[in-house]
Structure formats: structure tokens, C-alpha cells
Subunit: 664 residues, 2 copies
């Protein structure tokens, strides 16, 4: 990679792909100064920028591997670019600059994917994506009542681009990937025909490029760059993780679920820490240790479950409530982030305040890893947990490392993942203890073994329902997150929106073809149908866990492949059919490894599924054994219990797949 | 006024008020280039700007009355400012510039009013106001269901700044006014503490300043600058204008209304042109001549009404439907604006298409004034009409004068007003025929004798109900529009929102203290209560028309004052109490001339009204004769029929006011 001087500027190419094209008439770089307004309300951000200056850096002076940019000849240089392997290092020569815009050459028919975990649009072309970790929104579609009501009641409606896990990285159909190394607020704008614009509220350290002959090569390279997860623990293959938060009653309910023939690998009780009553209902008590009132003799119970081959999982997040016993310990040790007056910064989570453990303070991070996750959780017998939050770092607090909280906000999920991973490693449990996160950012891949798709609404909606989980799996998968899963049945039930049996069943049958099956009671368990409350739902669920277990050898091979090559378990169709442009926008089907294609039914009341079969090989419909030639649109029957699933006729795993058909 | 050179820039002051303060460190001028996206859907605009460059013009060279601005010393000059009396002329020296931002010095506790006719916020400080004529929105408040549903169903919800009548003019509490002479899209941004930012999507011709010792002086000066209306016609003082659109049945209904004791000055039938049936319901037939089917023998009916001292009013707008007889006449003569292919540009108004008569073509404007308004309306016997629309000029059509339709869009309402005024003048009916418009822009004052506040929702809502009419009257009044009125009972009934008797009565009793009382049946007459459908409503209405008529001598004196001095009939409290800063944000009361203060009840279910009485004089409560000293907050009883109204104890009109108390 080198700068090619042109008459009036320069170009930069990777292989035969021109990536940068700069001239004084058509500059690729703009620098300036802005003043942002950022308001946070419980993890939802209202962000607005007042751009005071945006100056085209028209004049470029190329010196070998370095380019100096200024607004015009004779003017003070404002930015330097330096080639560094497959990256451009950026140096601010004008320290007042706090905004940078750059344009990457685009082709009209180009597609782009990534941006971290995107829940609404897998192909990002034609839209603008702010990249800032936050609540993803409830409804996420300004035309729906739920979004409207969520906006009005708590600024919580969100939009298509809101995500727990943004990442300034994209993969282009031009067979390259681009990554911006920065934790500042940034925006990918793919709305223009001939360029993509990147906006960054800082001068980023580097822009990195990854090119390859195939998409799989590039995805492997990204996985190496950002970190690779260990293989799934063996115990996960035993069945589903059952999420119950019913105190001691959870054990009896688990028994009933197992009695229906359900294969179970774990019991996940997020209320293991006890409850707090608020006017919104019961909330968890945010002090991370077993609560003997809600779960008497939990240690013994965990041992009893272990005897039956069932693991126990819990819950943790990076906050400590002021009225819990851990808070004064942390405060005394100076582990909390502070406010403008140097006092512990308190965050209101809805009738209770919490301190933010400052993970930029190594002692605080070590303490959380050792004392909380290590001692209170792993040593206590937990085999996994939801490592919740990570998106809420307030932007007005003071951190131990002295970096502006606005610059640490996006970096926080990765620090949080690191604390969890360090604790797991300290007990030698890497690849054995399984924690799952919804928040993410660049580098989370190296620490978090399993992504969970966050809090969908309990419905079939286009932007917050079942189908969004596929988009999340595919986009995050390209960024090097091999394992993705979701709350079966969704999570958020508000404004009278409640689960139907159909929704749980459709979600279950999709989840059987993802790395991990896990249920969740949702935010309002009593208002919503649970898997153990309806015979048909429970029987369907039990059958799907059998299918999951039967398919485990294949999943295990995919997990080995992921560890080896960085390819995710759930893959967009184009990853293996890269010349078939018809696959580039598909986001409601996925390849489950190279040999299986999964097309969940994601609309209410539908009993057929239409989809595009890629390639020119032969595909076998899992349930009917009907054979189809690829390269065409087809429609198949897909009643409850038979999501549209196909396998390659030439798969070496064919016999395994055929067996699934017999599981009644 | 002259430029004062400073060490590193210049300042400009009016009297002792510094208006511009420019230095290289803190520049007041920014020039650049943007690419806008403007989508219109039935008069509602979705506008977004991509600012490609925004360059601070840091370097100023002052030469007497001229300043040349560039980004830095030695760089090409981009903008020239030249003093021209109390204005700055602006000249673009760089023709690529299509965006200008400039900062006017602000004080922290400064208030600003104006912006044309603003319906939500009279004091504009703290908010940003795009200035672009459009539909004002239904609901105009993103937290209400009606706004949400209007947005989803027709992009029609609007927001606080949407208005039929924007104008880039403000009045400051620093006792100066500023006007931007441009018809380009512009924005007033009053969100900053130490400056107001003006954004213009063009280099404007001039920035004009008006300073004075008193607010009344400045308002008089603005009225001279923009044009002054004639006095109200004598016939208006005879009572209310009754709006009915019931075909021939309107006459019988009018009789019933009169029989109840109602004082009537006019009958307004917008359906005089006949109807068209669409799936949305009955619409007017947009071909401007009397329809003999809907109104048989209309000419004779008009004469009969005249014998009873009642005028007849109609309706017109600047479009002609393709299936009417006038369309081919105009098309043949080349009077329509054209599309990209040179054909007549057609605008869809909901199941019917119309041509846009091109008022930049003098022949077309003359034809419309002479043949349509002159012959079909005035000669036919109409004494007035609603001159509707003016906000919908499509931005992608070709106009006869060769100017970009984006630059003509804001200018259109004034052209439309001019066509109407010209027709009236041609018949010697100026000051006698009364047309009323909701659309406006700079200069509409010279042509339109009466503003109508547009289409409120039929409710008490904060941003689209009764109270918004006061804000509209006060803001437009400061810009030199002396006469304002509104649809009694509101207009827009959607999504089950319908008129209550209370709403009609509250609106009526406010309207009795405005220049013109006029009813409207609303967009869905059959679903909504009408004044002649409820005995109590009709009796209340009749009484209020008697009060209006009894008060007419006072109104007439205000009209004479308006013609003389340009002061509006409805005035913000600060206009006569300019040192009383407590009055600066009041927008739900108004002075009716100098001697009367009107505080309508604008919330449902309220029977008291709290308000601030300005000054240190004595105020008399109209209904109870209770005396109050000014300078304090008070609360008075305000049952239906007794809006909170006060007059100055020392008023020369005291006897007249006292008489109102006796009207039962």
C-alpha cells in the first residue's frame, strides 16, 4: 500500500481497489470543530452536534509514505497521514481540531456490512449509522406506537442504528474491510453514490485496511485483529439454558420443564442476588453475591444440579447500589468514578442509585474480577452469567486514567468484558465458564465468549422483534464474534405488548439452530406467557432442545472451525456464495456453518417461508427431504416446528442432518 | 451606523447596542457549501442539509463602509459587507458559496420575538427556528398521539416551528429589530448565550436593522418597511362572519342563527365553487367560479343578503384542477409553471391534480387577478374570501422568471397576496373587500388586509389548540400585520378528536376581542359540533356577537391607529410596558389596543384564569367591576361567557367598556 501522487493530490489503493482519492477539487479530508450536546437518560442518548467549522483540507503534500494536509498552499498543515503497514496513522497538527470527516471511494452498486452488531439493517448502504454504545431502543421504528410511547415515557424508543454494540468497522463487497481505531463518537454515512463518509469526533489513531481474495479470508483477518473466542464449553451441548427468576421456586419449575422431556444444560437465575421492590416492580439487588433469602442454600442447590449435569448461571453488572454491602468497601478503596466535586458519581437506575466501578483503575478492575466475579461467583459455583450493561458510562464523570469519559464511553464494554474474562482466566475456567454480553465495542471479541442480542420486544416487529436477532448475529459475526444468541421469546413487554405462544415457538425453533439456546422470562414475567405455562409450547420447546442436542456434533465442528479460522457459526449467505450478488442484502436467513441454511419464520400467522437458495448446488429441505437446485427463489411449507431449513446435498454431515427429521 | 475597527477585526453598533463583533479568534461570519434534501408531501417538508464546508471567515479588511472577509490573510476574499443606511449589503465574492452563517451579539437575558407568525413560542430565545413556509402541522408536538398519527399517516404532524407564515425578522428586547432580506431557506438559532446565529441557504441581499427608543417605535418602523394594511371595512363591525359550507341549505341555517339574536356581518361559503367527492370525503372543486348546482341563483341570493346588510364571502386558491373549465384556458395561454420536460407541472392534492398558476409571469398574474378574482368573484358580488394556500410551491418546477423554485418558495405567499390585492384594487375595493390568508412571508403586509391563523386542531392543546392563535397574532402583529383572526372552534378534526361545546364557547369569547369574528365548520362538519346545533352554544355565540358590535367603536379606533402608526390591534403586553420584563414571555394574554387586556381561558375545564397585570396603574375587571393594581399576579373567576378581561381604569373608553357588562 502506498500513496500515489496525482496531478493535484493523491490516491491510495489496496490491490486494485482505489480506497482514497484526494484532489483539491474533490478533497477526501475535512477537519473542523464542533460542540456537541449529549444527554443521557437511562442509557438512551440524545445527541446533537453544532459544527462550527468544517474545512476542506484541499492541499496535500506527499512525501513518500507520508501526506501533509492543509486547507490551501501556504496555510498551516492540519493533519498528517502516515502509512504503517496496512494502516494509515493520523496525526493532528492543529490541536484545536475535534472533528474529522473523510471520504472513502465507493462504487454505486457496492454493499457494506458490519458496524458492530446492527439490529435493523445488515447491508448498511444508503443509510447513516452513528456508532455509540447505548440502549438499542424499544420499538426502534418511529412509525410504531410502541416506539412512540417509549419515546414519550422515557426517551427510550430508539431508531434503526441504536445498538448495544457499535464498532467502527465495515466489510465492503469490494472485498476489503476498513476499521477506524478510535473510541470517540463516530458515524458511518453510506448515503452517497460515490463515497462513504466517516465522521469522527476526534483524530483517530489509525484507519486500518484488510483486503483479501475472499470474504472468508477477510473475516478471518478481522477475527485475528480483534480477538478470537475459545470453543464453546462442552456442557452447553447438553441442551438449553433455562432462564427463571422465581427464587427458590425456580428449581421446581425446572423439574417440570425437564419432566416434559426438555434437554437442559443450565439453569440461569438472574435474581440470585435478590430483589428490590420499586414502583416499577421488582428489580434485582445490585450487589453481587448470593442472596440467601431468595435462594436459600444456593450452594447446595448448585451442587445438586451439577450432579444432574446441569450448570447454574447468574447475573452481574458493573454497578454497585449504594445500599448494598459492597458499596462502602469500594468507596473506601476509591474504586468508584467520581463527579465534578470529587465525590463518588452516582447514577440513578430508577429509584436506586449506584456507583460506577472505575475499570480504568487497575486496582478497581482487579478487585471486581477477584472479589466479585472470582470469589462471589466462580468460587461459589457459577458456571456462567449475564454480564449486563456496559453501555451506560456517564459522559460527565471523572475516571482514574484521566481520559475524558466521552472518549471512554465506547471503550467501556470492552473494559467490562476484560474484567469478566480476567476473572474467568484467574480460575482457569476460560472456555468453561460462559458469560454473555449485549454491550460491545472494538476488542470485545478477545474477551467475551458469547454475544447475546440484547432486549428485543416480545413480538414479530421488523425493527425490534425476532428477525432483528438474525441481523445482529450476522453483523457481529463478520466482526469476529463467532457466537451469538438471544432471549427466546424476547424480553421487553410494555404498553400491553405481550408474548404469544406462536412467538415463543418461532423463537425457540430458530434458537435451536444457534450456538446457545437460552430462555428468558422477560421484563414482566407475570404478564407474559412462559415456556412452562402452555403444554403445546413446552412440548415444542422440549422437541427443539432434542434437535439442538442431536445437532451438537455439527455445532461442535463449527465451534472448532471458529476457533481455528474465526468464521462465525451463523454466517451471511454471501460468505460462501460471494459471487452471487443476490445474497448481499439477505438478512432474514443465514448459513449455519457452510452446510446448513436456516430461514426462520419471523412474521406472525405465516406458515410458509419464501427464501432465496444460493449457489448452483443442491439443497435438501430438512423436514420433507425435498431437493432444490440453488440459484432461485422458493417457497416452502413452514408450520410451527418446521422452520425452513436446508442442508447441502453434498454435505459430509448429511446423515446427522437426516436424523433431525426423526425427532418427534 | 459604521464599522469600528478593532485590533483584530471590527464591530458594528446601532446606537449603544453592539450588534456585530468580529475577530479572527471569534469570527462572526462563516461561509460554505451544502447539499440539501427537501422532500414535500402535501405541503409538509422533510428537510435535511449536508454541510460539506463551513469555513470561518476569520480575516476582515475594513475600508470605511466596506468590509472584505476571507478565511485568512492572503486568501481569496469570499464575502463583502457594505453599509447602506441602516442595512448591510452582502456581496458574494466566491460564487460557489451557497451557505452563510452569521452571529449577532446576544445578551444572556435577551428576549427575541417575531419570525413571522409563530404558533408555539412567542419568545424565541432558547430554540431554533427554520423559516420555510409550509403546512404548520397537525398536533405540532412530538409527544402527542395526534402528532404521532399525523406523522405516520401523512408526514403531517409538524413541530413547534412549522408555520404558514415565516419571516426572517426578529425584534429584540435590546430595542432593535433585524431583518434578513432573502427568500432562501433560512434559520434563526437562538440557543446560544452570547450570540444568535442566522443561517441562510444563499447570500442574502441585505441585513436590515431597525432601532428605536421604544418597542412601539420599532414596530411602527417595521410596519412602514413591510407595508401597512388599510382600515377594516365598515361592514365587518356589524357582527360575525358565519362560515357555512352546506350549499343552498346555508341560507336557512344562517336565518336560524340570526333568529337567535346573532349579529351577522357576512356569510362565508367556501363551497360556492361546488364540491368534488373523494375517498377522503367532499372537497372543494378547484375551479374558481360560482357553482350553480350547489348554490342556485347565487347572484340573486347575494343581492338579497346585501339588502339585509350581510355580505357574501367565498374561497379561492392559486391552483386550478385539471378537470375544471379554467385549466385548459390557462394551459393554452402558458400560465402554468412547468416540469422538467416543459409540460404543465401537476400537483397531487389527493385524488385530483392541479396546475400551479405561475405568478412570476406577469400575464398569468394579471389574468388570475382580472378574470378569476376580478370577474368571477368581485364582479359577481363577493365581498371577501379566504385566499388559501401559498405554502405549497413545489421546489422542482420551472418558473417563468427563471429563478430557482427553491428561492421562490418562500416568496410565493407574498406574490399570491399581491394578485389578490391587485384584483381588489382594480375594482376600487381596497379597504372594502376583505380577503384573508394564512400563508405569508416578508412583504405580505403590503397586500393582505387580514391574517387568519391557519388550521388549529379542534382542541385545547398547547401547540395546536386555541392558545396558539394568540401566539400567532402577537408574533405576526410585531411584523406589521395589524389584523389577525382565527377559525372559531378550530379546524382540524382527525383521529376522533372532535369539538366540544366548551371549546367553541371559549374560542368564541376570545374571538369577540379580535378584529374579526368568523366561524368555520371545520374539515369534518358532520362529525363536529356546529354553533347552530346546540342552544347554549348558539345563545353564547349570539351574546358574544353583541359584545363585539358594542365594542366596535373601540375596535374602529384601533383600526385607525393601526393605519396611522402600524401598531397591531392585538399587542403583547410588553409593547406598552416595555420596562416590565415580567411581560416578555407572556403569550396567553394580549393587550387589545392600549386600554384593554384579554386573558382567554384556553384550558379545558377551567373556570378561573390566572394572569399577570402589568404596570402600576389600575385595572378594572370587565365583568365584576373589581379594581386591581398592576404589577402583580392575580386569579379571577372566568366562567363560560366571562373570559378574563380588564380595562385601564383611566381609559377614555371607560364608558364604552362598562356597557359590555350589561349585554345579557
Amino acid at each position: 500500500m502506498h500513496f500515489e501522487t496525482t496531478k493535484d493530490g493523491f490516491t491510495l489503493a489496496i490491490g486494485n481497489r482505489t480506497i482514497l482519492s484526494h484532489s483539491s477539487d474533490s478533497p477526501a479530508f475535512f477537519a473542523g470543530f464542533g460542540k456537541e450536546r449529549m444527554d443521557m437518560y437511562r442509557g438512551n442518548f440524545d445527541i446533537e452536534d453544532y459544527v462550527i467549522e468544517r474545512t476542506a483540507l484541499r492541499h496535500a503534500e506527499v512525501n513518500g509514505d507520508s501526506v501533509t494536509l492543509s486547507s490551501s498552499p501556504g496555510q498551516a498543515p492540519r493533519l498528517r497521514l502516515t502509512l504503517d503497514g496496512n494502516a494509515i496513522r493520523l496525526t493532528a497538527l492543529d490541536k484545536t481540531v475535534n472533528r474529522l470527516w473523510l471520504r472513502i471511494v465507493a462504487e454505486t452498486d457496492e454493499h457494506v456490512w458490519g458496524g458492530g452488531e446492527q439490529m435493523s439493517y445488515f447491508d448498511m448502504r444508503g443509510r447513516r449509522f452513528p456508532l455509540w454504545t447505548s440502549e438499542p431502543g424499544v420499538g426502534r421504528d418511529k412509525t410504531t406506537e410502541i416506539t412512540f410511547k417509549s419515546d414519550v415515557s422515557g426517551k427510550a424508543g430508539g431508531d434503526y442504528y441504536n445498538t448495544n454494540y457499535p464498532q467502527p468497522t465495515w466489510l465492503s463487497s469490494r472485498k476489503y474491510a476498513l476499521h477506524v481505531e478510535t473510541s470517540a463518537y463516530s458515524v458511518f454515512d453510506f448515503r452517497n453514490d460515490d463515497f462513504h463518509e466517516i465522521e469522527i469526533w476526534a483524530i483517530p489513531e489509525r484507519i486500518e485496511f484488510f483486503a483479501g481474495d475472499s470474504f472468508t479470508d477477510i473475516v478471518s483477518a478481522l477475527s485475528l485483529r480483534f480477538g478470537r473466542q475459545p470453543e464453546l464449553p462442552e456442557w452447553v451441548y447438553n441442551g438449553a439454558i433455562i432462564g427463571l427468576k422465581d427464587g427458590a421456586n425456580s428449581f421446581a419449575r425446572l423439574e417440570k420443564i425437564r419432566a416434559a422431556g426438555t434437554k437442559v444444560s443450565g439453569l440461569w437465575c438472574e435474581d440470585w442476588v435478590g430483589l428490590r421492590q420499586t414502583s416499577f416492580g421488582a428489580r434485582l439487588f445490585w450487589d453481587w453475591q448470593a442472596n440467601d433469602t431468595r435462594y436459600p442454600h444456593l450452594r447446595q442447590k448448585i451442587a445438586e444440579l451439577a450432579d444432574q449435569g446441569i450448570r447454574f448461571l447468574g447475573y452481574v453488572n458493573p454497578y454497585l447500589c449504594v445500599d448494598g454491602p459492597l458499596f462502602p468497601v469500594a468507596e473506601k478503596a476509591g474504586y468508584f468514578a467520581t463527579d465534578a466535586e470529587g465525590k463518588t458519581a452516582l447514577v440513578d437506575f430508577g429509584e436506586f442509585d449506584c456507583g460506577v466501578v472505575d475499570f480504568t483503575n487497575p486496582a478497581a478492575a482487579d478487585w471486581f474480577a477477584e472479589e466479585i466475579i472470582g470469589r462471589n461467583m466462580l468460587d461459589f459455583g457459577l458456571s456462567g452469567w449475564m454480564a449486563d450493561f456496559g453501555e451506560y458510562l456517564p459522559i460527565d464523570i471523572t475516571l482514574s486514567n484521566g481520559v475524558d469519559a466521552k472518549l471512554m464511553h465506547n471503550a467501556w464494554p470492552t473494559l467490562w468484558a476484560e474484567v469478566n474474562a480476567k476473572a474467568v482466566e484467574s480460575r482457569g475456567e476460560t472456555g468453561e465458564a460462559l458469560f454473555f454480553m449485549r454491550a460491545g465495542f472494538t476488542g470485545v471479541q478477545a474477551h467475551c465468549p458469547l454475544i447475546w442480542g440484547g432486549d428485543q420486544s416480545v413480538d414479530f416487529s421488523r425493527h425490534d422483534g425476532l428477525v432483528t436477532v438474525i441481523c445482529g448475529a450476522l453483523s457481529s459475526g463478520l466482526m469476529g464474534n463467532a457466537y451469538h444468541h438471544s432471549d427466546i421469546g424476547g424480553y421487553t413487554s410494555l404498553f400491553g405488548n405481550v408474548r404469544t405462544a406462536e412467538l415463543i415457538m418461532r423463537w425457540t425453533e430458530m434458537a435451536a439452530f444457534t450456538p446457545v439456546m437460552r430462555t428468558h422470562e422477560g421484563n414482566r414475567p407475570r404478564d407474559n406467557l412462559q415456556i412452562d405455562q402452555d403444554e403445546a409450547v413446552l412440548a415444542h420447546f422440549a422437541r427443539m432442545t432434542s434437535i439442538y442436542v442431536a445437532l451438537a456434533p455439527y455445532l461442535k465442528s463449527l465451534s472448532a472451525e471458529a476457533a481455528e479460522s474465526g468464521l462465525p457459526v451463523q454466517r451471511p449467505l454471501f460468505l460462501h456464495y460471494e459471487d452471487d450478488r443476490q445474497t448481499y442484502e439477505i438478512q432474514d436467513c443465514y448459513l449455519y456453518g457452510a452446510d446448513m441454511l436456516v430461514a426462520p419464520v419471523w412474521k406472525a400467522g405465516e406458515t410458509q417461508r419464501s427464501l432465496y437458495l444460493p449457489g448452483d448446488g443442491e439443497w435438501v429441505h430438512l423436514w420433507s427431504d425435498t431437493h432444490y437446485r440453488g440459484g432461485r427463489d422458493i417457497t416452502v411449507e413452514a408450520p410451527l416446528g418446521e422452520p425452513a431449513i436446508f442442508y447441502r446435498a453434498d454435505s459430509s454431515q448429511r446423515q446427522l442432518f437426516e436424523k433431525l427429521r426423526t425427532i418427534g
